[in-house]
């Protein structure tokens, strides 16, 4: 493989990284906190490619022999795979079916959690609700109306509210879920699987007693962290 092709591939990897950072599709694969690092990475890779290309134009191409490239039979072609996926195919964010169900850590010690914000029905993320149910010793969820968003998920005749949780990247995705019960659970059960909803209800161990279920458009960033 020629040095020019390697430089072009390097440039394409740098550009693809910049594209996912600029269009926001990177949130399908990694945490939003990685954004500045992705820009920096795109800059470093693009700079390495541009410096090599500019240097070759100035001094004439270097040849295989003294740069030690002769025994690499084009492994760099493999870089076309991430370029094709990130810049052209853009795989979707993980959905309900593709994450492993998480088991909540019941063994963790209980400790008092800070009180929920005041107001009618404060917004909580689904993992936050599950952690408070498992570990909170102060009973901050008892009899409080809360708002939780997620997608509907049917399993064994029950309807669950689910959310895909990632820690670092899509490879460690886990499914957080809580069973929907109560007055409004039937209206959630009537929706097609994977519909995004905002649920107002009261949480109890293992269930969310829903009082209202409102259908919402799919959020731009579907993961929870």
């Amino acid at each position: 493989m020629s040095r020019e092709t390697e430089n072009a591939l390097l440039l394409l990897v740098g550009m693809s990284t910049a594209i996912i950072a600029a269009t926001g599709t990177y949130t399908r694969y990694v945490k939003p906190a990685l954004l500045p690092w992705l820009w920096l990475t795109a800059g470093v890779i693009t700079a390495l490619a541009v410096i090599a290309i500019a240097g070759d134009i100035r001094t004439g191409p270097r040849h295989g022999k003294h740069t030690g490239h002769d025994h690499r039979a084009g492994a760099a072609w493999l870089l076309l795979i991430p370029v094709a996926l990130l810049a052209f195919v853009v795989p979707p964010a993980l959905g309900p079916q593709s994450a492993r169900p998480a088991v909540s850590d019941a063994g963790a010690p209980r400790r008092p959690f800070p009180a929920l914000p005041a107001g009618h029905a404060p917004e909580l993320s689904l993992p936050e609700v599950l952690i408070r149910l498992a570990q909170d010793s102060a009973g901050t969820l008892n009899d409080r109306l809360i708002t939780v968003t997620g997608f509907t998920l049917g399993d064994g005749g029950r309807t669950y509210l689910g959310r895909v949780v990632i820690v670092c990247c899509a490879a460690d995705a886990q499914l957080a879920r809580i069973a929907l019960t109560g007055a409004a659970a039937a209206s959630a059960a009537a929706l097609p699987e994977g519909t995004w909803v905002r649920v107002e209800g009261r949480a109890a161990p293992g269930e969310l007693r829903a009082e209202s279920v409102v259908r919402i458009p799919q959020p731009a960033n579907t993961y929870s962290y």
Partner: protein
């Protein structure tokens, strides 16, 4: 070059069709997303890694490194292991750095110890472990000790049994006198990035495929099983290829398993997994990787089990 241009034009034309095919097939979509996740997550660490390895190529010659390291091999390996704690990154970045630091005898053993220790015992990873296991501060201690012991044992094993002829991949060494420091730096970083990133693609693709193929019911049959749990989680750490900053959270979620298998998962993962194997084969050579990787797996599993039973007990 014409092939590349044709491929890119082809991709632009079929991009939309390919997108529909991928999103219409849940398993392909999951594998593609997991692949992108691993690749994108590793990219910043790899960029950091090749910047450091470029600097190593420019400023650190093997002779100079040999002069800095303590004379006695045992002390040198120990220094390299503890020195690993200073590089806060993931495992992907430490492979190209270790390849640059690699030299004859003691220097080689120290570089390999550094490669195994850096991703496992740096402060970011240990803090993540403490956060993931809020009720088990001993888990952090056990992880730190077991990972450090694994790295040092592998360094010692290399010093005793390692053969330089297994290293078949050559590095771009700064040979030309007229090259400026700047061009030595950029050429080394460019070369190491291309090599490491290409093999990262192989590793990430393998991990993504296995992600879809490893059935999740497997976990349900492991409840309370110590020995079987250790073997399965060691294998799982290899095939899932998680980032060392995230694996603690996954281990914490496998709460139906005893603590010792979960410790094994945390010690094996940063030391050896399928993407690291591919990257080691790419940077050091196949003959090296097929010996070093299985040895690392056995040593890491044994050490983690021993340390786990001592510190955490059989629970």
């Amino acid at each position: 070059m014409p092939v590349l241009v044709a491929t890119v034009i082809g991709l632009t034309l079929i991009g939309t069709t390919a997108r529909d095919v991928v999103s219409g097939n849940p398993e392909i979509a999951t594998a593609a997303t997991v692949f992108c996740g691993i690749f994108v997550q590793a990219l910043p660490f790899l960029a950091l890694g090749v910047v450091v390895s470029g600097a190593v190529a420019t400023f650190v010659t093997p002779d100079r490194l040999a002069r800095w390291l303590p004379r006695r091999p045992a002390t040198a390996i120990l220094t390299a292991g503890v020195g690993g704690a200073t590089l806060p990154g993931c495992e992907c970045g430490s492979v190209p750095i270790a390849r640059r630091l690699f030299g004859d005898g003691t220097v080689g053993a120290a570089a390999l110890t550094f490669m195994l220790a850096a991703p496992a015992i740096n402060p970011v990873v240990l803090i993540a472990t403490a956060v993931a296991f809020p009720g088990e501060p001993l888990m952090v201690l056990a992880r730190c000790i077991a990972s450090l012991l694994t790295a040092i044992s592998m360094g010692a094993l290399w010093a005793k049994f390692g053969q330089p002829r297994w290293i078949t991949r050559n590095l771009l060494r700064p040979t030309q006198q007229q090259d400026s420091r700047f061009s030595t730096f950029t050429e080394a970083a460019r070369h190491d990035f291309l090599q490491a990133a290409s093999f990262l693609v192989v590793g990430a693709a393998a991990a993504a495929a296995l992600h879809v193929l490893v059935p999740s019911w497997m976990f349900d049959h492991l409840a309370g099983q110590l020995l079987l749990g250790i073997l399965v989680l060691a294998a799982l750490a290899v095939v899932l290829a998680l980032c060392s900053e995230a694996d603690a959270f996954v281990a914490a979620s496998l709460s139906m398993l005893p603590l010792v298998p979960r410790l094994v998962f945390l010690v094996v993962g940063p030391a050896i997994d399928i993407k690291l194997f591919a990257m080691q084969a790419g940077m050091f050579g196949r003959a090296f990787a097929i010996r070093f990787a299985p040895a690392t797996l056995v040593v890491a599993t044994t050490v983690a089990t021993g340390v786990g039973l001592l510190i955490l007990g059989a629970r």
